[in-house]
Subunit: 308 residues, 2 copies
């Protein structure tokens, strides 16, 4: 029988990669034949974490059905964020911490979602429920995922469970969370050697809202102005992405990880849904969102509601 | 703040009722203000179990939004099987053991599905994970739910986890599972005092398949012929139900709980999807399905596939 493939969402972030590795390793400890794979190349933040803990980046796949019949999803469930042929293969399990949407199966499955900041927090529970523990390296990448998803515990998505899990994992991984965490996050903010197209695609997800196709990308920085120096170039890339992929609305969330604020850059229609969602007026396609750092908790829900 | 309402699917069976009671009691033990309610009157099997363990049937609600903002679903997720205004209220959590379909949320939630025979098996795990235990009466209704969903462990949906959970619950409830179980199942097969319309509706669920609306009802019996003596009357009720509710296809699964076989009665279109799904030829609208007792595992998946 072919291996079971375990993967996170397209444009993988550190949780998508870390959760795939950690959940696959748990399945192997339980005697399953699994392999962690990825739906895209890892970013610089994730590469920093993998290097730090001496782990290999999972190989990238474009389709799953040519290699396996069975898959396990981590850190996502919406089909448009998953592997291209997701509708043709059997989903054995899902471990996630997002809303559920555009997801369905023909058969019962194992589905574990909890409203916590990071998938790896749930996976640590699964290790403990099975009476098992992650290795030092796997604990390291799980810790990195929690730091990444919670922006070092500053995001409103962060729960006490994430903080407790990070503490346990830091012990196993033998690192100082604050020092390591800031170093890792900064590794992901080096945007100067990236094209505008690359920036658009680093951490981007599509969301069907009403009859519109909304693309929401997020980039982290330590200096908002450094990103907005390239505003014209960014807008051109967003317009091009809209045209090529039939996105109606492209929202770029530029997040200052030191101040925990974001600025939006918006291209497409309907603009008024954005203004209503965040109670702002766009000025030169931009709006500053004080205290907003979480796409999942602070951007998708108000925007979904605004479209209803 | 209004109470959180906890409920199972429409046309509640013993698991829908038992899981609502058990999960609500767990939430109360954890300090939440919850109430178990039901989306319909309980059947005779469930009433037998409630009476046996001195429990009240949950009150029946038609809508939730006039009483609360927050609900917890057990034993179902598909919106067409849920409360009428499910799309307007916030789903805090789902505990289920079915496929996921026609379900979505705007926010992250707690979702726990496992491919086991009964929701109550999962809920017993949740008690244990929280370091808590069900009371004697609650253990009794949870045990009844497992017996009901697995037809006393004979259904192919039954897993070792269901058997183990039933053993633990029987100890707490202080009953002999086999004796009590058969008595309870038989209480649910008394169909003589039911109209054909009532039979159609006792344990019926709707499933969108391709562009068709498929209704699948199941009745348990200890004598198939006793049910099929009323075939003409049943067909008339099914035709009427199709017309009134825009069902395309009505499938009645009559299950002999002693022999663990079923016979189908089918009214509507497309008939050929049924014949293809089960590799049978309908004769006088009927087909015998050897060894088939589970709608979830042996009827819905092949039929879903047949429609694709």
């Amino acid at each position: 029988m072919a291996k079971i493939l375990v993967f996170g969402h397209q444009n993988p972030d550190t949780d998508a990669i870390g959760a795939a590795i950690a959940f696959s390793e748990l399945q192997k400890q339980k005697g399953q034949d699994t392999e962690a794979v990825a739906l895209g190349k890892v970013g610089e933040e994730t590469q920093f974490a993998l290097d730090y803990f001496n782990l290999q980046a999972p190989r990238v796949i474009a389709k799953a059905g040519d290699q396996t019949n069975d898959v396990m999803l981590v850190d996502h469930n919406e089909f448009q964020q998953s592997v291209a042929d997701i509708e043709d293969i059997k989903i054995l399990s899902v471990i996630d911490h997002h809303r559920i949407s555009n997801f369905q199966t023909a058969d019962p499955l194992y589905y574990r979602a909890e409203p916590v900041g990071c998938t790896s927090t749930i996976i640590l529970k699964l290790y403990k429920e099975a009476g098992l523990a992650p290795t030092k390296a796997v604990a390291g990448i799980m810790l990195s995922a929690i730091i990444s998803d919670t922006l070092l515990f500053k995001s409103p998505t962060c729960t006490q469970e994430d903080i407790d899990a990070a503490k346990e994992l830091a012990n196993i991984a033998e690192v100082d969370t604050d020092t390591y965490g800031l170093e890792m996050l900064k590794a992901g903010t080096n945007l100067t050697n990236k094209s505008a197209e690359e920036l658009m695609d680093m951490d981007a997800k599509s969301f069907p809202m009403s009859d519109k196709n909304v693309r929401i990308a997020q980039v982290n920085t330590v200096d908002l102005e450094e990103v907005f120096k390239r505003q014209t170039e960014l807008e051109q890339a967003m317009e091009k992405a809209n045209k090529e992929n039939n996105y109606d609305l492209f929202v770029l969330l530029v997040t200052n990880i030191l101040d925990s604020d974001s600025e939006l850059l918006v291209v497409g229609d309907p603009i008024e849904k954005i203004e209503k969602a965040f109670n702002v007026t766009l000025n030169n396609h931009r709006a500053f969102l004080k205290g907003v750092v979480s796409r999942k908790k602070q951007v998708v829900p108000p925007l979904t509601e605004s479209f209803q």
